[in-house]
Symmetry: C2
Subunit: 403 residues, 2 copies
Amino acid sequence: MTRFHYRCSECGKTYGRDEVRYLCPRCGGAYVPGEPLRGVLEAEFDLGRIGREFDRNAPDWSLFSAVEPEHFPTYPVGNTPLAKAPRLGAEVGLRNLYVKNDGLNPSGSLKDRASFLVVAEAIRLGEDRIVTASTGNAASALAAVCAAAGKKAVIFVPAAAPKAKLVQMLLYGAEVVTVKGTYDDAFRLSLEYTRERGGLNRNTAYHPLTIEGKKTVALEIWAQCGFEAPGAVVVPVGDGVILAGVYKGFRDLLLAGLIDRLPRLVCVQAESSDAIHNYFTTGKFRKAALPSTVADSISVSVPSNAHMARRAIVETDGFSLTVSDSEILEGQALLARTTGIFAEPAAAATVAGLRKGADGFRQDEVVILLVTGHGLKDVDAALAGVKVPEPIPPNIEAVGGRR
Amino acid sequence: MTRFHYRCSECGKTYGRDEVRYLCPRCGGAYVPGEPLRGVLEAEFDLGRIGREFDRNAPDWSLFSAVEPEHFPTYPVGNTPLAKAPRLGAEVGLRNLYVKNDGLNPSGSLKDRASFLVVAEAIRLGEDRIVTASTGNAASALAAVCAAAGKKAVIFVPAAAPKAKLVQMLLYGAEVVTVKGTYDDAFRLSLEYTRERGGLNRNTAYHPLTIEGKKTVALEIWAQCGFEAPGAVVVPVGDGVILAGVYKGFRDLLLAGLIDRLPRLVCVQAESSDAIHNYFTTGKFRKAALPSTVADSISVSVPSNAHMARRAIVETDGFSLTVSDSEILEGQALLARTTGIFAEPAAAATVAGLRKGADGFRQDEVVILLVTGHGLKDVDAALAGVKVPEPIPPNIEAVGGRR
């Protein structure tokens, strides 16, 4: 039996599980265009009890879950590989570098974790529609989990979204509404839709269980590190919800007494999409003016979860940095040719961050690079970085290279 | 310590592990354009001993492996999810339908399993180059595993190969040789290359460990079914090596006394690429004249492993069928909207096969659908099957559908 309540991450007020659905009514409760969300809720468990009950030899992960397994859709989320990356490690001067490859979730990104839990919640509540605004991974993930669960996904996307990104969600059978306008328009419209027509809104951070879903990646990393906290986790950051989720996971473990310190969380943003980086370094929030980067999944002007993301860096003694598009594409190629992992540009930003932030790591500590999305999601971006060779006639003499 | 010898699948002659490398010298030993390979070798283990030593509570999979784990590259192959598909099952009248999603291997296809083992063998032998001819998944897989292992992948592809397919292998750092000619030309050239310049040839079925690598998917299915043999496994078939690998895995388990019967293997081919289907139904081999199908990964005129593939169907009391391109694309959409799995067309052929071959299954038996490659490998194919909606203005009144 799952027992938890929600606590507002700002004012601290608590609510019963079914007393409130999205933001803290006292602190915000409404979406204001151009500002990060206020009053994002966090699920608070009886972690002392969980710490006593959790058995490393027969892990019962449902103890940490805000939705009971009986409501889970038949969709095999998570359990993605964590593998040592000795060749990449040698390039960046780290002896214990590991890559957590969450691009190997079924729909190709870490967003499956959040969609999975929100759809489980919809099953518990008997809601048959789940609604979101997104241009990419979150929408594909929601469409995929809804397909497995027999629920309807209603997705609002800006009309400028590339067709290739739409294929996945359409094939999964989602109702896709393309909007003449910006992502902000799509976001606002998705909120109006759920208010006027019903359904459960899955917008990231707006629904608190998106953070709970994403925290499962931290629990897995902990288990895969032999139930020990790594030294640092390097996270690509757009709206800040993955960073907040990773933080929430390790903090739950700390409060449960299952680890005795938090890993440092390292926030990597694209130069043009650096609102959280700026917020962390200056202490003041201002939106990123013109987020235009090859790393589309972390291209965000107003990060919805900026407040919690900043706290994640501060409270883990982490740090933050930005990388350029050319550094991101170099990082993507370096990751591919040293590990065999083809990551989308946003996810490869972390590799660029590893190099740039090398001074922030100890050579021997366990460092986790979090890959959040599959490179096959954006073949065009990768195409820019490779050179297709000229064809040769079909005889061995024409083959160049070593004799 | 791994102990096995090779046995020729045709004449039965045995060879020590390092006595022979590719085909049986007595039976074939050479590649003849237009004919399936002769004298394909199979690794033969002391299965009686393995059956006695294998412990279901602490499975040691290395018992079944032709290469010792100390030679394995740090590349997390396999361990892909097997999930029940109740909604797809309801559509096709099966109560216990499961999907094994091997598109979630790191490079996006089951071919990672074969490449992994051949690269491990190269590490054991001290070979620094691995060579293959391929247009798609096998080449990407080899390039990815070589990247993780620090080995050089040399890949021969027909010049007509689509650029998108080249991106992955180039990004992984492979040496890609584009050949003005057919796949047969590329195949022949890759053999000449290894003969004259060295390196280990990974051509499918030509190197016997490709079959051993692919058999691991059968071992996993067995474990994921609670260490029981399923009733049937539905396999998309091109060159016949995956079918042969699945067969080899279950036969090893049978000879080890770990299962007491083989699952029926169901071979699904594209109508225009039906050489193995014809071979099975008529008993005579003839090549498929003009293999042109949307399912490019199973588009083969002369299947290299036709003889062993036919035996796999016969000896498991299985059956075979063909499906059209439109049935394949319908199958792809049906799979996506009932399970959330986006499979490449070749892999989706099995869904079409399930429908068409419905009479061949018992309603209650455990049927496994083998998904061999990720849909994101070929977004264009899927784009043909969906309709991108017209954009609407950003207000709630313009949103259609249910009020």
